[in-house]
Symmetry: D2
């Protein structure tokens, strides 16, 4: 089989560094085009030290004509609001040329179906409503069928991946009480990117835990959209994210009321059936709690369930590696699905 | 004024190490009696390196007769269930001898008014119901009046201190909706003590965050007791503690529904009035979130408030140093109140 | 080609956990026999959580007869002094049965050629001098030729791997002045194993750096043996190891005087030639210093060189992952060499 | 006694934050003047969160006339090369007005007696040779007599404080062999200041150890100056600093050859006599190694000694808190000496 010719826009970013490491080990991929505006002309191995001796390609300016010609798939590693117009133009150009180019966008630009939500949560106006309708939310385990045929994948945010996978079986079964969901979650500092801020400086993050964007993080909208979609009922989420003093990984605790009293065993069975055959989601045995360190470096999501009989509250704990399953790993998983490969190809499952 | 003659039972423990550091800097205290069963005969400065050159007293076996004779105040630094009978006998002996000996118990042995809760949450039977009735729960800011006159203080647990201080004004004002409170909290590894276990080994705690005792931590009962007492209504708490990868400090996030829609400003005013003159509780300005690193090394509790309009949920964030305000610091604060000293004497307020 | 049938003695250890993760991803290996005295009867995936769903084999008691029958290669993951006699017997039995069984010993038991050094540095008497003579020190890059033909590999310690690779080109070229070498090195806490001690408890290792075994660490003898062997001159090493507050990785700083004034470029060329074709050793460009985080999770050794003109001192900085190149990774590398596979098979080179 | 009226130039810096915390607890100090160019007009408690409720003074622009009028002592918390000319003018103005104003400069501007060394190590030309001659190097334990009478104190760098205190008794006794000293040292990330760089970003410092300025750190010159002064012989130092993954503290390992074979006991006695009565320097008992966590938060320097008989090398290990004894704490200690107070006043000695 011919290898997938892959390009990356924004190849100097932290997201891209993880993506490149995964692609470098992927047997079915050929990296053909890497763009960067800030590091134009430099070798990728000089920008990302860890790729030294592995990928020596040079970074070049963005060039849609060349990308359409030389790529089967383009990963977009830009910040939200920066690229959505050019994404539309790139896909338009590909169509006009009858190219079969596909795009996986790791930014938030095409994640929310409702364009009004962009101004509300992200502060930019997303006017490409046609493409928005066509975009597929790339939570692999939930939307596998649509991902297979998609041209544009909106790769999910890290928190929504962790949370939606954690509670999807319950919302699908429509057994969650209609009160706001409470989500308390912690990300490693890698989630705060490379531009200096309070959440990625050593002095403010070491020996500390920092709540931020309390009840105002834009990932809230993604969670609400996906859980509403699964259950058919309007879902509201109170979401409090933190930066914790570790580099990689993410834990989300989700607190729910169920519509009727249920036995732990029934809930457990529900999850088992829902995730049957889903290789990257692991349900922990009763009494075990998931730990960030068990999934760091992998594309896994591990889920633990506790039912508090005293307060009739279900506690779901879900962990992922924020940069792998919560970012570049899921992007590669989506690529595998889009190109008919084994879902696991090139993806680590051992910490 | 004459200095308070102080004894400690269990002086080789981690709790005691922090207590000794505070007492060493306290101008009104004379340390007269330090007991240890395991380190009997050793100098305290050889057991706790950091006290080298500061306290050279020798550890001796427990001796109630001597303690009554040579102490005005005894701190008990034993684990729960280990000492409750001897505590009763010590106080009984003091009374018979008309001694004015007072006791501050840092274990959980006299915290819960209902003796049935001990077997339920701690697995030991607390039969000294007479003394139980007499014991005063030492949450200084809440029970100041009773602490002044108390003979036996049950010094609060770290999590209940952090949580009850965080929401006391709301429960006192009876404006919390009668649904279970959700508490998501993280402690530094120092909370896991010195005996090796998964929660204090470096390999399991570094670069990780560990949920433990999910919905089954005995501190739940303390929170429920104190909040029920404040509001006059039965309160239930869903409590999920974690060990986070830092040494000292604690953050609790508390999620509540209020009985009626309230403005942020009203809630804020409520807190301001409730904590007026309480030097160790600090309400943060609107928009600021508390951080563990701001209170580590101090006896402070800092509280941040966010009202999520979208979901009508109040989020209270409360931080303390788990070993100071959450343990030995509050014990010293209680001592100051019991002996008529300035509440701040010997207590750090700068991180 | 038929897969190598592999057994492990002491499969519940931390060393073994890393080894199993590597072997699980190795295409040419079949795991046939895992022994443990303490966890006998348990499944390996229950002992090492991270192997869940990957290896479900049960741990069994050590049985040399079965091992000879069912294994082509046995890895020994026991502590030093525990197994050296049984190692001799296992190899003896294999020979009598004309089995081609090979052994890689990850303990220190067969590393030092001089039996007197064992009692001096390790406190046990190594009497199997015949086997000692036959054992090959498994520093892959240095002894490749002998490793190919070896029956018993003494897999090197983590510090000696890091240090000897760091300075081998200089000693081989006989340009080092005959004064004691100064080695200042730091290991992550994973180096302190799983049994609780000051060097792996969170409270003593977080926010700290702990010197230990100052000028008395047994790895000193390994360094001296190998450097003496390379240069033909008696080498003495002053070695100060530390535990630093990270989990994985190791950095060694080595300070040397050279026999004559040399140019940086000459030294650099010496290294380049010495390590030509050695895929896992990377010489950094002038002006760059190696970092632990660049090699964690890989089998790489990265080396940086600085020549201090003012004091005529050469500073060599060498980093490895202490558990991979410094342990199980090098063991797999040696296996690859012994069985004629590509040296890189199954070994990670991206952090 | 009247309180010392204290001003700070550069009061928004990290150095100043530590200094202000110490001064806030100092009984004999009144803070009268705080300057900042960047945060002019803000309250100091808004710039340094931890001072909230403790110091509410406003930051104002630098004004030498006012400072002379309203201060007995000025602390300079500027970077090297930024302020040396104005320092000269400030002292000149004070003299002309017959003010007894004293200055403690926490930058490197007046530390090196030889003006040529500034251009060599710091890249700026220090032309104020008159004032340079008059400045007193403020290593309190070494220069106590001169500090008492000094007008201008050049407060030492963190590394030189740690290293010179560690080996001063040996150089004073002239028993060190004339070969370059080897110093391998690690600082917490707080040493890298607040401006974002590789040495204070969480992603590059967590789970890592970073060598930097290898054999080229300007503190080398301070060490050489002071050790040469003590011994009367030209001393050369090979100095390799690192940032380790903790926030506060510093460890230096120093490797020396002695002129003649000496017994450990003799060296030990030498140290004991040299530091007799020096309250902030602690010599550890034989067999104990100093640890960063034992001195963090204090003004202590702890020293451990190991003599390696095999290689005839003396290993000195010295630890301090890099921001306290290595900065603001020593500045306060110098203030105490200059104004005839108890040396310990306001200085923490418990971690």
């Amino acid at each position: 089989m011919q290898r997938i010719r892959v390009g990356i826009v924004g190849a100097a970013s932290l997201t891209s560094s993880v993506l490149l490491r995964l692609l470098a080990l992927h047997q079915q991929v050929e990296i053909t085009f890497l763009t960067s505006e800030t590091k134009d002309g430099q070798k990728v191995e000089d920008v990302h030290r860890e790729l030294r001796g592995v990928i020596s390609k040079r970074l070049v300016p963005y060039d849609p004509a060349e990308m359409v010609k030389r790529c089967d798939l383009v990963f977009l590693c830009k910040s939200h609001g920066e690229f959505w117009e050019r994404t539309g133009k790139l896909i338009g150009r590909a169509r006009r040329l009858k190219s079969r180019l596909k795009v996986i966008d790791l930014s938030a630009d095409y994640r929310l179906q409702d364009p009004k939500l962009y101004s509300l949560w992200y502060g930019f106006e997303q006017k490409n409503t046609d493409l928005l309708k066509e975009a597929t939310y790339g939570l692999t385990e939930i939307h596998t069928g649509r991902i297979k045929k998609a041209i544009l994948i909106a790769n999910p945010g890290c928190y929504p991946t962790c949370v939606v996978l954690g509670v999807a079986p319950l919302f699908k079964a429509k057994i969650v009480e209609g009160i706001p969901l409470i989500v308390d979650a912690y990300s490693g500092v890698s989630g705060a990117g490379l531009r200096p801020n309070e959440r990625n400086m050593a002095m403010s993050t070491m020996e500390n835990i920092l709540p931020y964007c309390v009840a105002s993080h834009p990932h809230t909208a993604e969670m609400e959209q996906e859980l509403t979609l699964l259950s058919g009922e309007k879902v509201r989420v109170t979401f409090v994210p933190h930066v914790a003093s570790f580099k990689y990984g993410m834990l989300a605790n989700i607190y729910l009321k169920l519509k009727k009293k249920v036995k732990y065993e029934e809930i457990y069975r529900l999850y088992r059936e829902f995730y049957k055959g889903k290789i990257f989601v692991r349900l922990l045995p009763k009494g075990e709690y998931p730990q960030v360190s068990d999934v760091v470096g992998t594309n896994l999501c591990e889920i633990g369930l506790v039912y508090d009989q005293r307060t009739e509250t279900l506690i779901v704990m879900s962990v992922i590696d924020n940069l792998i399953k919560g970012g570049s790993g899921q992007a590669v998983q989506n690529m595998n699905v889009m190109f008919g490969l084994d879902e696991r190809e090139g993806l680590p499952y051992l910490p």
